[in-house]
Amino acid sequence: MKREKQQDVFADRPAANAVPDVKQLRKMAGDWLKLRRADAELSQADLAARLGLKYYTFISQVENGFSRVPTEIMGAWARELGLEPAAFARHLLMYYEPEMHRLLFGAESK
C-alpha cells in the first residue's frame, strides 16, 4: 500500500463543484489521514505510541471523521507520517477550515 515517493500525497482535495458539509469534510480528512498512515506503514496503535497517547482510540476517532487532529500535536503527527508539518497543516486546513484555507492559499492552490 506504500505510495511511490514522488507521488503527491497532497494532491487529494475536496471537489470544487460540490460543497460538502463540515462533517463530510472531517470524514474526508480522516480518510486522507488513514491513507497517509498506511503509506507510513503504521498501525493506529503504532501512531498512538509515537504520539505519546495511552490508547489508539483517539487515532480512530480522528480517522473516522468525528474529531480533528489537535493543533498541539499536528506537527508530531505529520513527522510520524513522514510528512512536512507545514504542508500537512495546510492540507488539513483545507478540510477543517475551508474558507480560511481559501483566503490564505486560494490563489496558489488553484
Binding site: Q44, A49, K54, S60, N64, F66, R68, P70
Partner: protein
C-alpha cells in the same frame, strides 16, 4: 510512552444490545438519535482492530465529537473530542456516569451550583455561627454587669 497492550479474550465486535442500551439510557437523553431536543446526536464506529466506539456528537453544523467511549478488551475508555483520557474502567455504567458529568448541560450545571451553594452554607454554619454564638454568650455575661453599673 507505550500503548497499553490488552488481552483479547473477548471477541472484537460491535456494541452488544445491552451495552448500547446502557449508553443510550445514560447519554441518549441528552442526545436523542434525531438530535431534535438538544442538537446532540450519537453514532457508533470501530477502530481498525474492531474495537467498538460510541461517539456523542455536538450540535450542528459542526457535529464534532464531545465524548467518545471505546471498548478495548473488557475495558471501557472515556475520552473527550481532543483525545484527553477522562476515565477508564471495566464497568460501563460507571464510565457512562463520568461521561455524563463531562458533557456540558444545564441540568448538570444546576447540580454543580446547588452543590456549591450547599458547601458555602455548610462552611458558614461551621465557621461563622460559632463566632456569633460566642459573641452572644459574652453579651449575656456582660449585660447584667453593665446594668448594675448603670
Amino acid at each position: 510512552m507505550n500503548v497499553v497492550a490488552f488481552e483479547r479474550k473477548q471477541d472484537n465486535r460491535e456494541w452488544s444490545e445491552k451495552e448500547l442500551n446502557i449508553l443510550v439510557a445514560a447519554l441518549g437523553t441528552m442526545a436523542p438519535r434525531t438530535g431534535r431536543k438538544t442538537g446532540r446526536t450519537w453514532e457508533t464506529g470501530m477502530t481498525e482492530h474492531g474495537d467498538a466506539q460510541f461517539y456523542l456528537l455536538g450540535p450542528l453544523p459542526e457535529q464534532s465529537c464531545e465524548i467518545c467511549i471505546s471498548r478495548i478488551g473488557k475495558r471501557y475508555i472515556l475520552e473527550d473530542g481532543s483525545g484527553r483520557l477522562l476515565f477508564e474502567h471495566r464497568n460501563l455504567e460507571l464510565v457512562t456516569l463520568h461521561a455524563k458529568a463531562a458533557v456540558p448541560s444545564t441540568s448538570w450545571l444546576m447540580v454543580r451550583v446547588i452543590t456549591l451553594w450547599c458547601a458555602v452554607r455548610n462552611t458558614i454554619q461551621e465557621k461563622v455561627e460559632p463566632l456569633l454564638v460566642e459573641g452572644e454568650e459574652l453579651f449575656v455575661q456582660f449585660v447584667p454587669q453593665l446594668a448594675a453599673l448603670a
